[in-house]
């Protein structure tokens, strides 16, 4: 700009100095607490199902499904975003975060109709996770196959 001889580099340093950082320690503690509670809750469901005589594999699946249902429900009634604001990665990294990432755009873009809104926008956040998740498992699969060939 004409009125000042501040360079972009110096301005960037000024911005860094003026901008507060997130409190990483506090955020980590909150994430540990919320994430831990979610996992304890999921484990409690599994234990309860096991005591009801459900097989272990099916009990784990039902536990995941329950978490997905609850996170979607909490998203729909406008509670999950507050939980995630407090718990950060603790709420987002478990399967609850994935459910929220699908349910939130579905709710938001309902106004644009079921095709161009819900249908098209539902995976706008979760889509990249699915794409690169699949691509990564594919690459790992090939590596696993190669190692088995060499080893076997």
């Amino acid at each position: 700009m004409d009125n000042s001889n501040i360079t972009k580099e110096r301005f960037s340093q000024m911005v860094d100095k003026s901008s507060p950082n997130s409190n990483i320690f506090t955020n980590c503690c909150k994430a540990f607490a919320i994430g831990g509670l979610i996992c304890v809750f999921a484990q409690a469901i599994i234990q309860w199902l096991l005591r009801m005589g459900v097989e272990k594999d099916i009990a784990s699946t039902l536990s995941s499904v329950s978490l997905i249902f609850l996170a979607s429900l909490l998203t729909g009634i406008g509670v999950f975003d507050n939980l995630a604001k407090f718990g950060g990665a603790g709420a987002i990294v478990p399967i609850t975060g994935f459910a929220n990432a699908v349910a939130a755009p579905a709710v938001e873009f309902k106004k644009e109709g079921f095709i161009f809104g819900v249908g098209a926008k539902m995976f706008v956040i979760a889509g990249p996770v699915i794409v690169y998740g699949l691509a990564t498992s594919w690459v790992i699969g090939i590596i696993y196959w190669l190692f088995n060939r060499i080893g076997g």
């Binding site: 955020n27 604001k85 987002i92 956040i125």
Partner: protein, 339 residues
């Protein structure tokens, strides 16, 4: 003969009177430190509409109607509406003025739109083209989040440098009917696009601060005025970080504004109790702060000379995703109470 002074400033031959101002805001703004100055606080941001976008249009139409009503003019006496907002193709505004049946000139300056509309509106009035013009700008937190960030219910943490988009609309009626007396726009400095390479979309205050400092310094150079000429210098929506950066840049250039400079984004929310991080933002931030709080302060003579500098970040989701930096713009409007 040109009314231009210096590089970017125009002085009005007959100062353009702001005969009325109206503001309608959402509940969060109503609970803020200047909440009592707004004409109307709507309790629900959806305001009985089907979408956030429709609600924004309702803020637009109702605030403009209220401004006309307060001015005592007939609808037919309004020669033109100059207004804009943040939504794609400024639909918040164009759908809002759809039923008002007055000529409409759409304005886009991102969050600097209110300054742009006030400046251009004053030029149209002082130029003798129109007698009465509306300058207006709106934004809506939910509609802006949906367009620029994430769906409202998506769980995410906002960084400390982020700002909170103001929900509401501020409108002012510019007129030549007082003959240059009362609360008047006396000068306008149109801003340049300034880009200092900031790419962080969660730090808009930093992206816009250089443009605000540039327009401010240009205004002083063009007008020959000093910072202490004004009772209050107030930028649009830089928030705490941008405010601090403007102070630093202007200080380096020898302009000492720390005693009479603040920002609408700092005024409108209480960051301790309202969780708004770096402050308020959006087109409505400067529009409602002026139409509500500042206009009232000028009427009460608590402020005699005001320099209002609405600031805008000229990015789109496409430019941000393509890794472009964020250009800023700032328009300065000098408003003085002339007896």
């Amino acid at each position: 003969m040109s009314k231009k002074h210096g590089n970017q400033t125009v002085f009005f031959q007959q100062p353009v009177s702001i005969i009325a101002a109206a503001s309608i805001v959402g509940p969060k703004e109503g609970q803020g430190p200047i909440g009592k100055y707004f004409d109307r606080v709507v309790e629900d941001v959806l305001w009985d509409c089907k979408s956030w976008e429709q609600a924004e249009s309702k803020f637009v139409s109702d605030a403009i109607k209220l401004a006309i009503q307060k001015s005592g003019l007939l609808d037919t006496e309004i020669d033109c509406i100059l207004a804009g907002d943040l939504l794609n193709q400024i639909i918040g505004t164009s759908f809002g003025v759809r039923d008002l049946n007055r000529p409409f000139i759409g304005m886009f300056g991102a969050c600097s739109t209110f300054g742009l509309a006030m400046g251009v509106g004053s030029m149209l009035v002082d130029g003798g083209f129109y007698n009465n013009v509306i300058a207006s700008a709106s934004s809506h937190f939910c509609a802006a989040e949906k367009q620029f960030r994430f769906p409202l219910e998506f769980g995410s943490q906002r960084p400390p440098s982020s700002t909170w988009t103001v929900t509401g609309n501020g409108a002012a009626v510019l007129s030549n009917k007082t003959g240059g007396k009362g609360i008047c726009v006396t000068a306008y400095t149109a801003g340049k696009v300034v880009d200092m390479g900031i790419t962080d979309i969660n730090n808009m205050g930093a992206a816009m601060a250089p443009s605000a400092a540039d327009t401010l310094i240009t205004h002083f150079k063009d007008t020959g005025r000093n910072p202490d000429y004004y009772d209050l210098i107030i930028t649009g929506d830089l928030g705490y970080i941008g405010h601090e950066l403007v102070l630093k840049i202007t200080q380096e250039q020898g302009y000492h504004i720390s005693s009479n400079y603040t920002d609408c984004g700092i005024k409108i929310f209480d960051r301790e109790t309202q969780d708004t991080h770096s402050g308020g933002s959006g087109c409505a931030c400067s529009a409602v702060t002026f139409a509500g709080y500042l206009y009232n302060q000028m009427q009460n003579s608590a402020i005699g000379k005001l320099l209002l500098l609405p600031t805008g970040a000229l990015l789109s989701t496409t430019s941000a995703q393509q890794g472009e930096s964020i250009p800023g713009i700032c328009h300065a409007v000098a408003i003085e109470n002339i007896s």
